[in-house]
Symmetry: C2
Subunit: 244 residues, 2 copies
Amino acid sequence: MTTSDAGSDAGNDAGSAKKAPARDPWELPDVSGLVVGVLGGTGDQGRGLAYRLARAGQQVIIGSRAAERAEAAAAELGHGVRGMDNAACARASDVVIVAVPWEGHARTLEGLAGDLAGTLVVDCVNPLGFDKRGAYAVRPEEGSAAEQAAALLPESRVTAAFHHLSAVLLRDPAIEKIDTDVLVLGDSRADCEIVQALAGRIPGMRGIFAGRLRTAHQVESLVANLIAVNRRYKAHAGIRLTDV
Amino acid sequence: MTTSDAGSDAGNDAGSAKKAPARDPWELPDVSGLVVGVLGGTGDQGRGLAYRLARAGQQVIIGSRAAERAEAAAAELGHGVRGMDNAACARASDVVIVAVPWEGHARTLEGLAGDLAGTLVVDCVNPLGFDKRGAYAVRPEEGSAAEQAAALLPESRVTAAFHHLSAVLLRDPAIEKIDTDVLVLGDSRADCEIVQALAGRIPGMRGIFAGRLRTAHQVESLVANLIAVNRRYKAHAGIRLTDV
């Protein structure tokens, strides 16, 4: 497909016809010294991510509304994970992953805007609804959970990633490698590269840049489709990009 | 994750906790005798799909507004592909893939509702916009291109699939296998399984059921992200589901 007809045809080739950036997209920063906070770290997804990152050697702090709950979850995970209340976690971390339930997303972030000023925030929340026919996408007014975070945290550096991971696989200590790619979205290349590098610390994962924050809605919503796949195939489906 | 907290947490495990269907999801019908029409078959994506299906042994008819253009494209593709105007293609086919540009999607289908009555329709159109910052999702009033097709074709059996394929790879005769999964969406299991089986005829592809038609928007829109990936990594990215 040529660039000129990219807008008027199906298929995904439009990008490849454009001028490629000069830099090697696989050249990522060393993030081994960064402290990673996980807000909502007592939930299944947050706990799973905290466990995998800590097991990979990252310094990790779990945040929760109540410090005691965070401390208890941290002690259970081991690998040096610490627990704090959300505000303390936000202030003590270089990178903060937001893994709270969608229902509490806006409220949690509103209260932390000051504590998260200047911080690299990684939103991994999937706004979904559920009914008898399964899961379906919920569209936030801002366009996506990530764009809602960006609106509520004007002084933070907001990215989105880690949407498609199975908490069951993340939390199973017998599993060494998790065979999946992590799609990383954001408007700052440097910030995205930090998140890509973090994802790449977990064995089996690659962090792949997959577009600007304005394209986050479909990445968040795709979890509804993975849930349908899981149900039909009795799987814990992940995504791998081919030819990359 | 348990089913009860599926609505209030991130992650994709909700489906796997539900009761699995008794039937083997990989048991698919024999579709080798079906005639497949491709509307918009003179475009890059349609031509690529027609080529791959015909090369795999399927009887294929390319449809276009002008029969002569369809015949010329068909002659170029070989493998027994025929060309007809869209209405004749619709009437002569058991399964019709809609690969027209998004801009002409509604208009084309409106005119073919009678010719497509009773037919299995596979929509592969990606409603996207493009500006200086790249590709972005366009949200049709009906929710997705596939749901728009379903609204315009009340007597047809509408599914959605084949959104994420690279026309460059599809059309390169030197490429034997295309390493990707085809996400198939629809509300009728029997119809989805026909489309899954069709996808599976192309070497390297698997047709995977990935949800109801109401979850098509994110699958269509994800092409915006694949375009960003292609640009960054100089690739023709496809999607493979892991653990399935």
